[in-house]
């Protein structure tokens, strides 16, 4: 019936990965352009506005770099868990918890000098984020509770917790009823690097990326995580502490997402409000997977997807295209990369 079938390649197709990614991008842009046409908007104009907003101006490049910071940190964490085939879908919630932790420190110790308060905020953010990831980790280890669903449910709960705080106990009495906390004191705000719009959160990104790369490459624990990623049976035969490693990758994952939340609250909005929850945690999953979990590629793909978000915002302003256009593209890119991945290990041959 079918004239073609799959045959395993003798060795993996080395040029496959970049070609597949380019192919996936072309395909996704094609389908998205078609969607624009169907909505009665010019596809060519739309893609031009998207390009302009993503790469066409210096403000766009800066905006993308700023957005890439939280996405990168979340994706770095998610990728560490994915390495062990621990499916942490909870970066969004861990991000929210990080923001809550940092805000707690900023609101309670506003008079501490920056060199004390800032580390305290990062510490609280990391602890809260790691705690939020520890819950599903321990549930999975002790009771085999599926971590995909528990992390997801914890996302919803975290966002509602954040809402509860900014609508209730932490609400700024001087905000005219808007659900925001009071603005942070100057020592709780992450400063700009020199004269640029870029803030020091960027340095945290670079540092975390390098540290993670070195950790995975040069340390025994990093090596063990990679081995454990081959599956629980392999881990048991190699006498690895599988449970401890699971908790470790989840805690790292949660702490990094927590940092992202801390940076977003402190540097971008200077207070806690619900508008920081824009789905960076979900974009992080796309980023991590496109980058095949490698820190350097995570940096590149975090930047590209952040640029896509900025470009879609531009489309929103100029062509009234809804923001959800960005998630359509993210979904399409991810689906087509997943489908294309097959070509690395298989080739299509004619049936005899």
């Amino acid at each position: 019936m079918l004239a073609y079938r799959l045959q395993k390649r003798d060795e993996p197709w080395n040029w496959g990965a970049p070609i597949i990614i380019v192919g996936a991008l072309v395909f996704s842009f094609g389908v998205s352009a078609l969607l624009l046409e169907l909505q009665g908007k010019s596809a060519v104009e739309g893609l031009l506005v998207l390009w302009q907003g993503s790469f066409g101006a210096s403000w766009a490049l800066e905006d993308a770099l700023l957005k890439a910071i939280p996405i990168f940190l979340c994706a770095l964490g998610v990728a560490t868990a994915f390495r062990m085939q621990v499916w942490n879908i909870g970066a969004e919630g861990q991000f929210a918890l990080g923001a809550i932790g940092a805000t707690w420190a900023a609101l309670n110790f506003p008079d501490l000098p920056g060199f004390l308060l800032m580390p305290l905020m990062f510490f609280c953010a990391a602890v809260c984020g790691a705690f939020w990831a520890y819950i599903p980790a321990i549930l999975r280890l002790k009771l085999q509770v599926n971590e995909i669903i528990s992390t997801l449910m914890l996302n919803y709960i975290a966002i509602l917790l954040l809402e509860y705080l900014v609508f209730g106990v932490w609400k700024d009495p001087a905000s005219f009823g808007f659900p925001v906390t009071p603005e942070f004191s100057p020592s709780a705000i992450i400063g700009q690097i020199g004269e640029t719009r870029l803030h020091w959160g960027f340095a945290v990104c670079i540092g975390s990326g390098l540290a993670m790369w070195a950790f995975m490459r040069f340390t025994r624990l990093g090596y063990e995580i990679k081995i454990a990623g081959e599956g629980i049976k392999v881990a048991m035969y190699s006498r690895l502490p599988y449970g401890m490693l699971t908790i470790l990758v989840m805690a790292i994952s949660g702490a990094l997402a927590g940092w992202a939340g801390c940076i977003e609250t402190s540097a971008t909005v200077n207070r806690l409000q619900t508008s920081i929850m824009v789905g960076y945690g979900y974009t992080a999953i796309v980023v991590a997977w496109l980058a095949r979990l490698h820190p350097l590629y995570i940096g590149i793909s975090a930047y590209l997807l952040a640029a896509l978000r900025v470009g879609v915002e531009n489309m929103q302003l100029e062509l009234q295209v809804p923001a959800s256009f960005g998630s359509i593209m993210e979904g399409l890119i991810l689906l087509s990369v997943l489908a294309g991945q097959m070509l690395v290990t298989y080739k299509i041959v004619k049936k005899k």
Partner: protein, 306 residues
């Protein structure tokens, strides 16, 4: 108390449990065939949107319901192309499907926000609705609820009594063995996936056609994920799925009623209830059955030979 609070609450429970019931049964069928589909949330959203638009433009709610199912099937087909044909990772593909589905319906649905449709109205089922209490709870509902009473029974008969149902179960358990006795493993997986997608789509269609009668972003509100969790809670059995779906319907209805009465509990905390309950339900089923009833090859792709 009974007349004024409990009976209306249980009637609301049945209504809000119905979309979850359709979706849970759909996911059970999908997983019976060995495919893990985490796209339920996106599929339900897309189906709710398609059902809404079809019903709005044709004025025929039944056609809308059917097209919602077709939308679910179409989304399941994308998952099948990625996972069954191209051997992609099922977990990530499902997530991508949810991202795509929720994005797509919000994008296409923007012009329709706030518009209303007639959809399905409640009516008293002849005779049965006059049974005391039970009649008020189960038989003063809309037509889609009545349909949902029959589906679990048909589902059970299909899975346990027909050769196709048994073959699908075999493929989920051991595709290689199923293939060895001459079953078309890949084709059976497709049937389970697409059939399950249709049911999931019907659940999504219920949301816009009977639950809200209008279109809004984020209509699904996590119900798709709850359905995925309920499959585990139900140990992949349709009977327990009914129980689970109504349990969640109950919590959602109760939470809405508490808000309406105006308690001192902040609404964000009340809204947490279904999500917290999902985790509790997973813990409960883990303690009870160690979730060991899962099809043995759930989530594992069938590699082509040669």
């Amino acid at each position: 108390m009974l007349e004024s609070f409990i009976v209306p609450l249980l009637a609301a429970t049945v209504q809000s449990g119905t979309p979850i019931l359709y979706a849970t049964l759909g996911e059970i069928l999908t997983e019976k065939g060995g495919v893990l589909n985490l796209g339920v949330e996106g599929m339900m959203s897309m189906a709710a949107f398609v059902a809404f638009v079809v019903s709005l433009t044709t004025g025929n709610a039944w056609l809308g319901f059917f097209c919602g199912g077709i939308a679910g099937t179409f989304m399941a087909m994308l998952h099948g192309i990625v996972c069954i044909t191209c051997l992609g990772n099922q977990v990530v593909s499902g997530l991508a499907l949810t991202i795509l589905g929720t994005g797509l319906c919000n994008f296409l649905g923007t012009p329709f926000i706030g518009m209303g449709i007639d959809g399905f109205d409640k009516f008293s089922f002849p005779l049965l609705s006059s049974i005391p209490y039970l009649g008020d709870i189960f038989f003063k509902q809309d037509a889609l609820v009545y349909v949902s009473f029959i589906i679990p029974v048909l589902f059970m008969l299909f899975i346990n009594r027909t050769s196709l149902g048994l073959a699908i179960t075999a493929v989920g358990e051991k595709p290689a063995a199923a293939a060895a006795v001459g079953l078309k493993a890949v084709r059976l997986r497709w049937i389970a996936l697409l059939g399950g997608g249709f049911l999931i789509g019907l659940g999504g269609a219920y949301l816009s056609l009977a639950y809200t009668h209008l279109w809004a972003n984020g209509l699904s509100g996590g119900r798709g994920w709850i359905a995925v969790a309920l499959v585990i809670f139900a140990f992949w059995r349709p009977g327990r799925a009914v129980f689970g779906a109504y349990l969640f319907g109950g919590v959602m209805a109760f939470q809405l009623r508490l808000q309406a009465i105006g308690t001192h509990i902040p609404s964000s905390l009340l809204l947490m209830l279904p999500y917290a309950l999902t985790i509790l339900v997973l813990i409960f089923s883990a303690v009870r059955g160690r979730s060991g009833n899962a099809p043995a090859h759930l989530g594992i792709n069938i590699e082509p030979e040669g």
